[in-house]
Protein backbone atom coordinates (compact mmCIF):
# COMPACT_ATOMS: atom_id res chain seq x y z
CA UNK A 1 0.00 0.00 0.00
CA UNK A 2 2.68 2.44 1.05
CA UNK A 3 4.74 1.67 -2.01
CA UNK A 4 1.75 2.60 -4.14
CA UNK A 5 1.56 5.99 -2.49
CA UNK A 6 5.28 6.49 -2.93
CA UNK A 7 5.02 5.58 -6.52
CA UNK A 8 2.17 7.97 -7.04
CA UNK A 9 4.09 10.90 -5.65
CA UNK A 10 7.58 10.11 -6.85
CA UNK A 11 7.13 8.44 -10.21
CA UNK A 12 9.31 5.61 -11.51
CA UNK A 13 12.60 7.46 -11.49
CA UNK A 14 12.08 9.04 -8.10
CA UNK A 15 11.13 5.85 -6.33
CA UNK A 16 13.81 3.77 -8.01
CA UNK A 17 16.38 6.39 -7.17
CA UNK A 18 15.33 6.30 -3.54
CA UNK A 19 15.47 2.49 -3.52
CA UNK A 20 18.95 2.45 -5.00
CA UNK A 21 20.15 5.00 -2.49
CA UNK A 22 18.60 3.24 0.46
CA UNK A 23 20.12 -0.02 -0.77
CA UNK A 24 23.54 1.52 -1.19
CA UNK A 25 23.46 2.90 2.33
CA UNK A 26 22.46 -0.47 3.73
CA UNK A 27 25.23 -2.24 1.83
CA UNK A 28 27.83 0.23 3.02
CA UNK A 29 26.66 -0.12 6.62
CA UNK A 30 26.70 -3.89 6.35
CA UNK A 31 30.12 -4.02 4.77
CA UNK A 32 31.52 -1.64 7.35
CA UNK A 33 30.21 -3.54 10.36
CA UNK A 34 30.02 -7.17 9.23
CA UNK A 35 33.07 -7.62 7.05
CA UNK A 36 36.56 -7.98 8.40
CA UNK A 37 38.78 -5.00 7.84
CA UNK A 38 41.07 -7.01 5.53
CA UNK A 39 38.18 -8.21 3.39
CA UNK A 40 38.42 -6.72 -0.12
CA UNK A 41 34.83 -5.45 0.01
CA UNK A 42 35.20 -3.87 3.43
CA UNK A 43 34.33 -0.18 3.52
CA UNK A 44 36.55 1.51 6.05
CA UNK A 45 35.28 4.09 8.49
CA UNK A 46 37.39 6.66 6.72
CA UNK A 47 35.49 6.02 3.53
CA UNK A 48 32.18 6.03 5.40
CA UNK A 49 32.88 9.50 6.75
CA UNK A 50 33.98 10.62 3.32
CA UNK A 51 30.74 9.37 1.81
CA UNK A 52 28.80 11.00 4.62
CA UNK A 53 30.43 14.25 3.64
CA UNK A 54 29.34 13.76 0.04
CA UNK A 55 25.79 13.13 1.17
CA UNK A 56 25.78 16.50 2.94
CA UNK A 57 27.10 18.08 -0.23
CA UNK A 58 24.28 16.39 -2.11
CA UNK A 59 21.72 18.01 0.19
CA UNK A 60 23.39 21.36 -0.42
CA UNK A 61 23.27 20.67 -4.15
CA UNK A 62 19.55 19.95 -4.04
CA UNK A 63 18.98 23.17 -2.15
CA UNK A 64 20.89 25.11 -4.82
CA UNK A 65 18.99 23.32 -7.55
CA UNK A 66 15.65 24.28 -6.02
CA UNK A 67 16.41 27.95 -6.55
CA UNK A 68 18.53 27.72 -9.66
CA UNK A 69 17.12 24.79 -11.56
CA UNK A 70 13.49 25.46 -10.73
CA UNK A 71 13.35 29.20 -10.16
CA UNK A 72 16.23 30.55 -12.24
CA UNK A 73 17.94 32.27 -9.33
CA UNK A 74 21.63 31.44 -9.54
CA UNK A 75 22.99 31.70 -6.03
CA UNK A 76 26.72 32.07 -5.62
CA UNK A 77 26.28 32.34 -1.89
CA UNK A 78 24.73 29.10 -0.76
CA UNK A 79 27.99 28.18 0.88
CA UNK A 80 27.17 30.93 3.37
CA UNK A 81 23.92 29.26 4.42
CA UNK A 82 25.67 25.92 4.59
CA UNK A 83 28.39 27.42 6.77
CA UNK A 84 25.90 29.18 9.04
CA UNK A 85 24.17 25.85 9.68
CA UNK A 86 27.59 24.37 10.28
CA UNK A 87 28.48 27.08 12.76
CA UNK A 88 25.22 26.53 14.65
CA UNK A 89 26.09 22.87 15.03
CA UNK A 90 29.72 23.71 15.78
CA UNK A 91 28.62 26.02 18.58
CA UNK A 92 26.65 23.22 20.15
CA UNK A 93 29.56 20.81 19.86
CA UNK A 94 31.82 23.44 21.43
CA UNK A 95 29.47 23.76 24.38
CA UNK A 96 29.33 20.01 24.69
CA UNK A 97 33.09 19.91 25.27
CA UNK A 98 32.39 21.51 28.65
CA UNK A 99 35.29 21.46 31.09
CA UNK A 100 37.31 19.06 28.97
CA UNK A 101 38.89 21.90 26.98
CA UNK A 102 42.56 22.81 27.31
CA UNK A 103 41.74 25.57 29.77
CA UNK A 104 39.13 23.52 31.60
CA UNK A 105 36.55 26.30 31.61
CA UNK A 106 33.12 24.68 31.98
CA UNK A 107 31.27 27.37 30.07
CA UNK A 108 33.62 29.27 27.82
CA UNK A 109 35.11 27.55 24.77
CA UNK A 110 38.90 27.53 24.67
CA UNK A 111 39.26 30.31 22.15
CA UNK A 112 37.24 32.68 24.35
CA UNK A 113 39.39 31.91 27.35
CA UNK A 114 42.40 32.51 25.17
CA UNK A 115 41.02 35.90 24.12
CA UNK A 116 40.49 36.75 27.79
CA UNK A 117 36.73 36.83 27.50
CA UNK A 118 34.96 36.64 30.81
CA UNK A 119 31.44 35.84 29.75
CA UNK A 120 29.65 33.92 27.08
CA UNK A 121 28.32 36.35 24.43
CA UNK A 122 24.51 36.48 24.37
CA UNK A 123 24.28 34.84 20.97
CA UNK A 124 25.92 31.73 22.38
CA UNK A 125 23.10 31.25 24.87
CA UNK A 126 20.98 28.20 24.34
CA UNK A 127 23.46 26.38 22.17
CA UNK A 128 24.14 23.95 24.98
CA UNK A 129 20.79 22.44 24.03
CA UNK A 130 20.91 20.20 20.98
CA UNK A 131 17.40 20.96 19.78
CA UNK A 132 18.11 24.67 19.92
CA UNK A 133 21.26 24.30 17.85
CA UNK A 134 19.39 22.29 15.23
CA UNK A 135 16.66 24.90 15.19
CA UNK A 136 19.22 27.64 14.74
CA UNK A 137 20.97 25.69 12.00
CA UNK A 138 17.78 26.16 10.01
CA UNK A 139 16.53 29.49 11.33
CA UNK A 140 19.77 31.48 11.12
CA UNK A 141 20.45 30.86 7.42
CA UNK A 142 16.76 31.05 6.60
CA UNK A 143 16.44 34.39 8.35
CA UNK A 144 19.47 35.81 6.59
CA UNK A 145 18.13 34.52 3.29
CA UNK A 146 14.72 35.98 4.06
CA UNK A 147 16.11 39.46 4.68
CA UNK A 148 18.42 39.34 1.71
CA UNK A 149 15.74 37.88 -0.54
CA UNK A 150 13.12 40.32 0.62
CA UNK A 151 15.36 43.21 -0.38
CA UNK A 152 16.54 41.67 -3.62
CA UNK A 153 13.32 40.20 -5.02
CA UNK A 154 11.22 43.18 -4.07
CA UNK A 155 13.33 45.44 -6.22
CA UNK A 156 13.50 42.84 -8.97
CA UNK A 157 17.22 42.32 -8.88
CA UNK A 158 17.71 39.34 -11.17
CA UNK A 159 20.25 37.48 -13.28
CA UNK A 160 23.93 38.09 -12.82
CA UNK A 161 23.22 41.09 -10.61
CA UNK A 162 21.61 38.84 -8.07
CA UNK A 163 24.34 36.24 -8.45
CA UNK A 164 27.07 38.74 -7.75
CA UNK A 165 25.13 40.13 -4.81
CA UNK A 166 24.95 36.66 -3.30
CA UNK A 167 28.66 36.31 -3.87
CA UNK A 168 29.23 39.62 -2.13
CA UNK A 169 27.05 38.38 0.72
CA UNK A 170 29.16 35.31 1.36
CA UNK A 171 32.32 37.35 0.88
CA UNK A 172 31.19 39.83 3.53
CA UNK A 173 30.45 36.97 5.91
CA UNK A 174 33.84 35.48 5.17
CA UNK A 175 35.49 38.71 6.23
CA UNK A 176 33.27 39.01 9.27
CA UNK A 177 33.89 35.49 10.52
CA UNK A 178 37.63 35.92 10.21
CA UNK A 179 37.43 38.52 12.95
CA UNK A 180 38.19 37.30 16.44
CA UNK A 181 35.79 39.71 18.10
CA UNK A 182 32.85 38.20 16.23
CA UNK A 183 33.02 35.44 18.82
CA UNK A 184 33.11 32.48 16.44
CA UNK A 185 36.71 31.49 16.87
CA UNK A 186 38.10 33.78 14.16
CA UNK A 187 40.58 32.27 11.78
CA UNK A 188 40.60 28.83 13.36
CA UNK A 189 36.87 28.48 13.60
CA UNK A 190 35.38 25.87 15.87
CA UNK A 191 37.07 22.51 16.27
CA UNK A 192 38.41 19.91 18.72
CA UNK A 193 34.91 18.60 19.31
CA UNK A 194 34.56 15.70 21.72
CA UNK A 195 31.01 14.37 21.74
CA UNK A 196 27.79 14.67 19.88
CA UNK A 197 24.74 13.90 22.05
CA UNK A 198 27.08 12.08 24.42
CA UNK A 199 28.66 9.83 21.79
CA UNK A 200 32.34 10.16 21.11
CA UNK A 201 32.66 11.94 17.82
CA UNK A 202 35.84 10.10 16.88
CA UNK A 203 34.39 6.68 17.30
CA UNK A 204 33.61 4.60 14.24
CA UNK A 205 30.13 3.74 15.43
CA UNK A 206 29.20 7.42 15.82
CA UNK A 207 30.53 8.13 12.38
CA UNK A 208 28.51 5.32 10.88
CA UNK A 209 25.36 6.62 12.52
CA UNK A 210 26.06 10.13 11.26
CA UNK A 211 26.50 8.70 7.79
CA UNK A 212 23.16 6.92 7.98
CA UNK A 213 21.43 10.03 9.29
CA UNK A 214 22.89 12.06 6.42
CA UNK A 215 21.59 9.47 4.00
CA UNK A 216 18.13 9.55 5.54
CA UNK A 217 18.00 13.32 5.55
CA UNK A 218 19.05 13.34 1.92
CA UNK A 219 16.29 10.87 1.03
CA UNK A 220 13.71 12.91 2.93
CA UNK A 221 14.96 16.07 1.26
CA UNK A 222 14.65 14.38 -2.09
CA UNK A 223 11.07 13.23 -1.50
CA UNK A 224 10.05 16.53 -0.05
CA UNK A 225 11.57 18.47 -2.94
CA UNK A 226 9.98 16.17 -5.45
CA UNK A 227 6.54 16.76 -4.00
CA UNK A 228 7.24 20.48 -3.84
CA UNK A 229 8.32 20.88 -7.45
CA UNK A 230 5.43 18.75 -8.70
CA UNK A 231 2.86 20.83 -6.83
CA UNK A 232 1.12 23.71 -8.50
CA UNK A 233 3.49 25.95 -6.58
CA UNK A 234 6.38 24.18 -8.27
CA UNK A 235 4.75 24.65 -11.66
CA UNK A 236 4.38 28.35 -11.00
CA UNK A 237 8.03 28.38 -9.98
CA UNK A 238 9.13 26.88 -13.28
CA UNK A 239 6.91 29.36 -15.07
CA UNK A 240 8.71 32.14 -13.22
CA UNK A 241 12.06 30.66 -14.23
CA UNK A 242 11.07 30.64 -17.89
CA UNK A 243 9.10 33.86 -18.17
CA UNK A 244 9.02 35.92 -15.05
CA UNK A 245 7.09 38.90 -16.37
CA UNK A 246 4.42 36.73 -17.99
CA UNK A 247 3.69 35.21 -14.60
CA UNK A 248 3.27 38.67 -13.17
CA UNK A 249 0.66 39.53 -15.78
CA UNK A 250 -1.23 36.45 -14.65
CA UNK A 251 -1.43 38.04 -11.22
CA UNK A 252 1.16 35.99 -9.32
CA UNK A 253 3.27 37.81 -6.75
CA UNK A 254 6.57 36.59 -8.15
CA UNK A 255 8.59 37.98 -5.26
CA UNK A 256 6.63 35.89 -2.74
CA UNK A 257 7.20 32.75 -4.77
CA UNK A 258 10.90 33.43 -5.02
CA UNK A 259 11.23 34.41 -1.41
CA UNK A 260 9.58 31.22 -0.23
CA UNK A 261 11.80 28.84 -2.17
CA UNK A 262 14.87 30.97 -1.47
CA UNK A 263 14.32 30.92 2.29
CA UNK A 264 13.44 27.25 2.28
CA UNK A 265 16.50 26.44 0.26
CA UNK A 266 18.73 28.38 2.65
CA UNK A 267 17.31 26.45 5.60
CA UNK A 268 17.98 23.22 3.74
CA UNK A 269 21.56 24.27 3.10
CA UNK A 270 21.81 25.00 6.81
CA UNK A 271 20.73 21.45 7.65
CA UNK A 272 23.36 20.12 5.27
CA UNK A 273 25.98 22.23 7.04
CA UNK A 274 24.82 21.04 10.46
CA UNK A 275 25.20 17.42 9.37
CA UNK A 276 28.54 18.12 7.78
CA UNK A 277 30.33 19.61 10.76
CA UNK A 278 30.28 16.65 13.18
CA UNK A 279 31.58 14.44 10.38
CA UNK A 280 34.54 16.59 9.37
CA UNK A 281 35.16 17.81 12.93
CA UNK A 282 35.76 21.45 12.09
CA UNK A 283 34.02 24.55 10.80
CA UNK A 284 36.01 27.64 9.90
CA UNK A 285 35.51 30.83 7.89
CA UNK A 286 36.96 29.33 4.72
CA UNK A 287 33.59 27.63 4.24
CA UNK A 288 32.28 31.09 3.40
CA UNK A 289 34.74 31.61 0.57
CA UNK A 290 33.00 32.44 -2.71
CA UNK A 291 34.93 29.68 -4.46
CA UNK A 292 33.17 27.07 -2.32
CA UNK A 293 29.72 28.31 -3.22
CA UNK A 294 30.40 28.44 -6.90
CA UNK A 295 31.92 24.97 -6.81
CA UNK A 296 28.68 23.73 -5.29
CA UNK A 297 26.84 25.31 -8.21
CA UNK A 298 29.06 23.26 -10.49
CA UNK A 299 27.88 20.01 -8.90
CA UNK A 300 24.35 20.96 -9.88
CA UNK A 301 25.42 21.94 -13.38
CA UNK A 302 27.30 18.68 -13.88
CA UNK A 303 24.43 16.53 -12.68
CA UNK A 304 21.78 18.50 -14.46
CA UNK A 305 19.82 21.37 -13.07
CA UNK A 306 16.07 21.35 -12.99
CA UNK A 307 16.16 17.70 -12.04
CA UNK A 308 16.45 16.33 -8.53
CA UNK A 309 18.61 13.30 -9.24
CA UNK A 310 21.13 15.46 -11.10
CA UNK A 311 22.42 17.48 -8.16
CA UNK A 312 22.89 14.35 -6.04
CA UNK A 313 24.74 12.66 -8.86
CA UNK A 314 26.83 15.74 -9.55
CA UNK A 315 27.78 16.31 -5.92
CA UNK A 316 28.96 12.73 -5.51
CA UNK A 317 30.76 12.53 -8.86
CA UNK A 318 32.59 15.84 -8.65
CA UNK A 319 33.60 15.39 -5.04
CA UNK A 320 34.63 11.81 -5.64
CA UNK A 321 36.94 12.90 -8.43
CA UNK A 322 38.17 15.77 -6.30
CA UNK A 323 39.13 13.40 -3.50
CA UNK A 324 40.92 11.08 -5.88
CA UNK A 325 42.64 13.76 -7.91
CA UNK A 326 43.76 16.02 -5.10
CA UNK A 327 45.54 13.14 -3.42
CA UNK A 328 47.05 11.73 -6.61
CA UNK A 329 47.90 14.91 -8.55
CA UNK A 330 47.22 17.97 -6.42
CA UNK A 331 48.47 20.34 -9.14
CA UNK A 332 45.98 19.05 -11.65
CA UNK A 333 42.79 19.49 -9.66
CA UNK A 334 42.21 23.17 -10.30
CA UNK A 335 42.84 22.67 -14.00
CA UNK A 336 40.32 19.87 -14.01
CA UNK A 337 37.79 21.87 -12.07
CA UNK A 338 38.18 24.82 -14.41
CA UNK A 339 37.87 22.55 -17.41
CA UNK A 340 34.69 20.99 -16.03
CA UNK A 341 33.16 24.44 -15.60
CA UNK A 342 33.89 25.30 -19.20
CA UNK A 343 32.99 21.92 -20.66
CA UNK A 344 29.69 21.57 -18.86
CA UNK A 345 28.43 25.04 -19.69
CA UNK A 346 29.28 24.73 -23.37
CA UNK A 347 28.68 21.09 -24.17
CA UNK A 348 26.43 19.81 -21.43
CA UNK A 349 24.08 22.65 -20.52
CA UNK A 350 21.61 20.15 -19.11
CA UNK A 351 24.22 18.13 -17.31
CA UNK A 352 24.46 14.37 -17.18
CA UNK A 353 20.72 14.00 -16.78
CA UNK A 354 20.31 15.91 -20.02
CA UNK A 355 21.99 13.02 -21.85
CA UNK A 356 19.23 10.67 -20.77
CA UNK A 357 16.63 13.27 -21.50
CA UNK A 358 17.76 13.66 -25.08
CA UNK A 359 17.28 10.01 -25.92
CA UNK A 360 13.91 10.27 -24.25
CA UNK A 361 12.99 13.21 -26.49
CA UNK A 362 13.66 11.29 -29.65
CA UNK A 363 11.08 8.69 -28.77
CA UNK A 364 8.63 11.53 -28.13
CA UNK A 365 9.05 12.86 -31.60
CA UNK A 366 7.91 9.63 -33.18
CA UNK A 367 4.27 10.05 -32.32
CA UNK A 368 2.50 12.79 -30.48
CA UNK A 369 -0.59 10.71 -29.80
CA UNK A 370 1.48 8.20 -27.88
CA UNK A 371 2.69 10.84 -25.50
CA UNK A 372 -0.46 11.03 -23.44
CA UNK A 373 -0.13 7.40 -22.53
CA UNK A 374 3.62 7.36 -22.28
CA UNK A 375 4.97 7.13 -18.78
CA UNK A 376 8.02 9.23 -18.76
CA UNK A 377 11.11 7.80 -17.27
CA UNK A 378 12.77 10.76 -15.69
CA UNK A 379 11.57 13.13 -13.09
CA UNK A 380 12.15 16.41 -14.83
CA UNK A 381 9.38 15.70 -17.30
CA UNK A 382 7.57 13.00 -15.39
CA UNK A 383 4.21 14.71 -15.43
CA UNK A 384 1.25 12.87 -14.02
CA UNK A 385 -1.88 12.69 -16.07
CA UNK A 386 -4.35 15.35 -15.03
Amino acid sequence: MISDKFYKYLGISGSSFLCIMGGAILIIVASNTLLNSDHPLHVSSYVVTLLGKYLCYAILAISIDLVWGYCGVLSLGHGAFFALGGYAMGMHLMREIGPRGVYGNPVLPDFMVFLNWKELPWYWYGFDMFWFAILMAVVAPALLAYIFGWLAFRSRVTGVYLSIMTQALTFALLLAFYRNDMGFGGNNGLTDFKDVLGFNIQENRTRLVLFVISGLVLMITFMFSKILVDSKYGKALIAIRDSESRVRFLGYRVEHYKLFIWTLSAGLAGIAGALYVPQVGIINPSEFSPANSIEAVLWVAVGGRGTLIGPVLGAILVNGSKTILTSAFPEVWLFTLGAIFIFVTIFLPKGIMGLFNRSNRKSNASGISKIAGLRKIFIFDGKKDG
Binding site: S231, K232, Y233, A239, S245, F249, L250, R253, A372
Partner: protein
Amino acid sequence: MADRKDTVLYLDNISVSFDGFKAINHLSLYITRGELRAIIGPNGAGKTTMMDIITGKTKPDTGTLLFNGNIDLKKLDEVSIAELGIGRKFQKPTIFENQTVYDNILLSLDNPRGVIANLGYVTTKSTSDKIDELLEIIRLTKYKNLEGSNLSHGQKQWLEIGMLLAQDPDVLLVDEPAAGMTDAETADTAKLLINIAKTKSVIVVEHDMEFIRALNSKVTVLHEGAVLAEGSLDQVSKNQEVIDVYLGR
Protein backbone atom coordinates in the same frame (compact mmCIF):
# COMPACT_ATOMS: atom_id res chain seq x y z
CA MET B 1 -16.68 63.22 -23.53
CA ALA B 2 -17.66 60.01 -21.82
CA ASP B 3 -18.55 60.09 -18.17
CA ARG B 4 -15.79 58.76 -16.00
CA LYS B 5 -18.25 56.73 -13.95
CA ASP B 6 -19.37 54.55 -16.85
CA THR B 7 -15.96 53.75 -18.12
CA VAL B 8 -14.06 50.58 -17.34
CA LEU B 9 -10.89 52.09 -18.70
CA TYR B 10 -10.34 55.81 -18.73
CA LEU B 11 -7.17 57.07 -20.40
CA ASP B 12 -6.89 60.83 -20.53
CA ASN B 13 -4.08 62.87 -22.02
CA ILE B 14 -1.53 60.07 -21.51
CA SER B 15 2.02 60.66 -22.74
CA VAL B 16 5.13 58.56 -22.53
CA SER B 17 8.54 58.97 -24.11
CA PHE B 18 11.59 56.77 -24.42
CA ASP B 19 14.88 58.63 -24.51
CA GLY B 20 13.13 61.64 -25.98
CA PHE B 21 11.03 59.67 -28.48
CA LYS B 22 7.31 60.25 -27.85
CA ALA B 23 5.73 56.81 -28.21
CA ILE B 24 2.38 57.92 -26.78
CA ASN B 25 1.41 61.52 -27.34
CA HIS B 26 -1.54 63.00 -25.41
CA LEU B 27 -3.63 59.88 -25.92
CA SER B 28 -7.21 59.81 -24.66
CA LEU B 29 -9.36 56.69 -24.83
CA TYR B 30 -12.51 55.59 -23.01
CA ILE B 31 -13.79 52.04 -22.88
CA THR B 32 -17.23 51.39 -21.38
CA ARG B 33 -18.47 48.29 -19.69
CA GLY B 34 -19.28 45.45 -22.08
CA GLU B 35 -17.70 47.22 -25.00
CA LEU B 36 -15.76 45.58 -27.83
CA ARG B 37 -13.23 47.97 -29.26
CA ALA B 38 -10.90 47.42 -32.18
CA ILE B 39 -7.70 49.38 -32.45
CA ILE B 40 -5.82 49.73 -35.68
CA GLY B 41 -2.91 51.80 -36.83
CA PRO B 42 0.41 51.56 -38.65
CA ASN B 43 3.47 49.87 -37.17
CA GLY B 44 4.94 51.85 -34.36
CA ALA B 45 1.71 53.76 -33.75
CA GLY B 46 1.90 52.90 -30.06
CA LYS B 47 -0.81 50.23 -29.85
CA THR B 48 1.28 47.75 -27.89
CA THR B 49 2.73 50.55 -25.78
CA MET B 50 -0.80 51.59 -24.87
CA MET B 51 -1.46 48.07 -23.59
CA ASP B 52 1.86 48.20 -21.72
CA ILE B 53 0.62 51.32 -19.99
CA ILE B 54 -2.75 49.87 -19.03
CA THR B 55 -1.21 46.69 -17.64
CA GLY B 56 1.46 48.51 -15.66
CA LYS B 57 4.47 47.38 -17.69
CA THR B 58 5.27 50.95 -18.70
CA LYS B 59 4.56 53.90 -16.45
CA PRO B 60 3.14 56.97 -18.26
CA ASP B 61 4.98 60.26 -17.84
CA THR B 62 1.78 62.30 -17.58
CA GLY B 63 -1.97 61.82 -17.80
CA THR B 64 -4.84 60.11 -16.01
CA LEU B 65 -5.37 56.37 -16.05
CA LEU B 66 -8.40 55.02 -14.20
CA PHE B 67 -10.05 51.63 -13.88
CA ASN B 68 -13.78 51.46 -13.11
CA GLY B 69 -13.78 55.21 -12.81
CA ASN B 70 -11.98 55.46 -9.50
CA ILE B 71 -8.96 53.16 -9.28
CA ASP B 72 -5.72 54.88 -10.29
CA LEU B 73 -3.79 52.30 -12.30
CA LYS B 74 -0.69 54.49 -12.36
CA LYS B 75 -0.06 53.67 -8.74
CA LEU B 76 -0.35 49.89 -9.15
CA ASP B 77 2.10 47.30 -10.37
CA GLU B 78 1.45 44.58 -12.97
CA VAL B 79 0.34 42.05 -10.38
CA SER B 80 -2.22 44.29 -8.71
CA ILE B 81 -3.57 45.32 -12.08
CA ALA B 82 -3.93 41.68 -13.09
CA GLU B 83 -5.65 41.00 -9.78
CA LEU B 84 -8.17 43.77 -10.55
CA GLY B 85 -9.24 41.72 -13.53
CA ILE B 86 -7.32 43.07 -16.48
CA GLY B 87 -5.91 40.28 -18.60
CA ARG B 88 -3.68 40.45 -21.61
CA LYS B 89 -2.60 38.46 -24.61
CA PHE B 90 0.79 39.54 -25.90
CA GLN B 91 1.61 40.36 -29.48
CA LYS B 92 4.41 37.82 -29.49
CA PRO B 93 2.79 34.75 -27.99
CA THR B 94 4.34 34.22 -24.60
CA ILE B 95 3.44 30.90 -23.09
CA PHE B 96 5.39 28.69 -20.71
CA GLU B 97 7.47 26.72 -23.15
CA ASN B 98 8.68 24.04 -20.78
CA GLN B 99 5.25 23.16 -19.44
CA THR B 100 2.44 21.19 -20.94
CA VAL B 101 -0.57 22.81 -22.56
CA TYR B 102 -2.59 21.54 -19.62
CA ASP B 103 -0.29 23.16 -17.06
CA ASN B 104 -0.27 26.42 -18.98
CA ILE B 105 -4.03 26.59 -18.62
CA LEU B 106 -3.94 25.36 -15.04
CA LEU B 107 -1.55 28.15 -14.04
CA SER B 108 -3.78 30.74 -15.68
CA LEU B 109 -7.06 29.58 -14.14
CA ASP B 110 -8.80 32.03 -11.89
CA ASN B 111 -7.75 30.39 -8.61
CA PRO B 112 -6.02 31.84 -5.54
CA ARG B 113 -2.55 33.07 -6.46
CA GLY B 114 -0.89 32.90 -3.05
CA VAL B 115 2.10 30.70 -2.20
CA ILE B 116 0.37 28.77 0.56
CA ALA B 117 -2.75 28.17 -1.51
CA ASN B 118 -0.74 26.71 -4.34
CA LEU B 119 1.48 24.56 -2.12
CA GLY B 120 -1.51 22.55 -1.02
CA TYR B 121 -3.40 22.82 -4.27
CA VAL B 122 -5.32 19.73 -5.38
CA THR B 123 -6.96 19.61 -8.80
CA THR B 124 -10.66 19.01 -8.38
CA LYS B 125 -12.99 17.40 -10.89
CA SER B 126 -14.67 20.70 -11.69
CA THR B 127 -11.32 22.31 -12.40
CA SER B 128 -10.18 19.61 -14.77
CA ASP B 129 -13.55 19.71 -16.46
CA LYS B 130 -13.17 23.44 -16.91
CA ILE B 131 -9.72 22.95 -18.39
CA ASP B 132 -11.03 20.32 -20.77
CA GLU B 133 -13.76 22.66 -21.81
CA LEU B 134 -11.27 25.45 -22.51
CA LEU B 135 -9.01 23.08 -24.40
CA GLU B 136 -11.98 22.16 -26.56
CA ILE B 137 -12.55 25.84 -27.35
CA ILE B 138 -8.98 26.46 -28.34
CA ARG B 139 -8.75 23.12 -30.20
CA LEU B 140 -5.81 21.84 -28.26
CA THR B 141 -7.40 18.84 -26.55
CA LYS B 142 -5.18 16.50 -28.54
CA TYR B 143 -2.07 18.31 -27.37
CA LYS B 144 -3.01 18.48 -23.75
CA ASN B 145 0.22 16.87 -22.54
CA LEU B 146 2.56 18.30 -25.11
CA GLU B 147 5.16 20.80 -23.97
CA GLY B 148 4.46 24.35 -25.03
CA SER B 149 7.69 24.65 -26.99
CA ASN B 150 6.50 21.98 -29.42
CA LEU B 151 3.44 23.96 -30.54
CA SER B 152 3.22 25.82 -33.84
CA HIS B 153 2.93 29.60 -33.91
CA GLY B 154 -0.83 29.51 -34.48
CA GLN B 155 -1.30 26.93 -31.73
CA LYS B 156 0.65 29.13 -29.38
CA GLN B 157 -1.68 32.01 -30.26
CA TRP B 158 -4.64 29.81 -29.40
CA LEU B 159 -3.03 28.65 -26.20
CA GLU B 160 -2.46 32.21 -25.14
CA ILE B 161 -6.07 33.06 -25.90
CA GLY B 162 -6.98 30.03 -23.80
CA MET B 163 -4.84 31.30 -20.97
CA LEU B 164 -6.58 34.64 -21.19
CA LEU B 165 -9.96 32.96 -21.06
CA ALA B 166 -8.90 30.83 -18.12
CA GLN B 167 -7.93 33.97 -16.25
CA ASP B 168 -11.53 35.12 -16.66
CA PRO B 169 -10.75 38.86 -16.45
CA ASP B 170 -13.25 41.72 -16.71
CA VAL B 171 -11.16 43.50 -19.30
CA LEU B 172 -9.34 41.62 -22.04
CA LEU B 173 -6.53 43.25 -23.96
CA VAL B 174 -5.85 41.19 -27.05
CA ASP B 175 -2.81 42.10 -29.15
CA GLU B 176 -2.87 40.74 -32.71
CA PRO B 177 -4.65 37.45 -32.06
CA ALA B 178 -5.10 36.51 -35.71
CA ALA B 179 -1.44 36.51 -36.72
CA GLY B 180 -0.47 33.03 -37.80
CA MET B 181 -4.04 31.71 -37.98
CA THR B 182 -5.94 30.31 -40.95
CA ASP B 183 -8.90 32.28 -42.30
CA ALA B 184 -11.37 29.93 -40.69
CA GLU B 185 -9.58 30.21 -37.36
CA THR B 186 -9.54 33.99 -37.67
CA ALA B 187 -13.29 34.02 -38.16
CA ASP B 188 -13.70 31.74 -35.15
CA THR B 189 -11.57 34.02 -33.05
CA ALA B 190 -13.74 36.97 -34.01
CA LYS B 191 -16.86 35.05 -33.02
CA LEU B 192 -15.28 34.07 -29.75
CA LEU B 193 -14.39 37.66 -28.91
CA ILE B 194 -17.85 38.93 -29.81
CA ASN B 195 -19.27 36.30 -27.52
CA ILE B 196 -17.03 37.29 -24.65
CA ALA B 197 -17.81 40.96 -25.12
CA LYS B 198 -21.40 40.26 -24.14
CA THR B 199 -20.32 40.23 -20.53
CA LYS B 200 -16.79 41.69 -20.54
CA SER B 201 -14.93 44.58 -22.05
CA VAL B 202 -12.53 43.67 -24.85
CA ILE B 203 -9.87 45.70 -26.64
CA VAL B 204 -8.44 44.10 -29.76
CA VAL B 205 -5.47 45.25 -31.78
CA GLU B 206 -5.22 43.84 -35.28
CA HIS B 207 -3.88 44.64 -38.73
CA ASP B 208 -6.20 42.11 -40.42
CA MET B 209 -9.10 44.17 -41.85
CA GLU B 210 -11.28 41.12 -42.52
CA PHE B 211 -11.03 40.32 -38.85
CA ILE B 212 -11.86 43.87 -37.82
CA ARG B 213 -14.85 43.87 -40.11
CA ALA B 214 -16.05 40.61 -38.59
CA LEU B 215 -15.88 42.14 -35.13
CA ASN B 216 -18.34 44.77 -36.26
CA SER B 217 -17.46 47.18 -33.48
CA LYS B 218 -16.29 50.70 -32.86
CA VAL B 219 -12.79 51.24 -34.29
CA THR B 220 -10.08 53.56 -33.04
CA VAL B 221 -7.22 54.49 -35.31
CA LEU B 222 -3.94 55.28 -33.58
CA HIS B 223 -1.17 57.20 -35.25
CA GLU B 224 2.08 58.47 -33.75
CA GLY B 225 0.84 57.83 -30.25
CA ALA B 226 -2.47 59.67 -30.55
CA VAL B 227 -6.03 58.97 -31.71
CA LEU B 228 -6.42 59.85 -35.36
CA ALA B 229 -10.04 58.82 -35.87
CA GLU B 230 -12.81 56.94 -34.13
CA GLY B 231 -16.08 55.41 -35.35
CA SER B 232 -17.37 52.43 -37.27
CA LEU B 233 -15.00 50.75 -39.68
CA ASP B 234 -16.87 52.24 -42.63
CA GLN B 235 -16.60 55.71 -41.18
CA VAL B 236 -12.90 55.56 -40.46
CA SER B 237 -12.00 53.93 -43.73
CA LYS B 238 -13.50 56.94 -45.53
CA ASN B 239 -11.44 59.33 -43.45
CA GLN B 240 -8.80 60.85 -45.73
CA GLU B 241 -6.16 61.09 -43.03
CA VAL B 242 -6.59 57.45 -42.14
CA ILE B 243 -6.28 56.47 -45.77
CA ASP B 244 -3.12 58.52 -46.06
CA VAL B 245 -1.28 57.11 -43.09
CA TYR B 246 -2.59 53.56 -42.91
CA LEU B 247 -5.18 52.08 -45.16
CA GLY B 248 -4.07 53.63 -48.40
CA ARG B 249 -0.63 52.11 -48.38
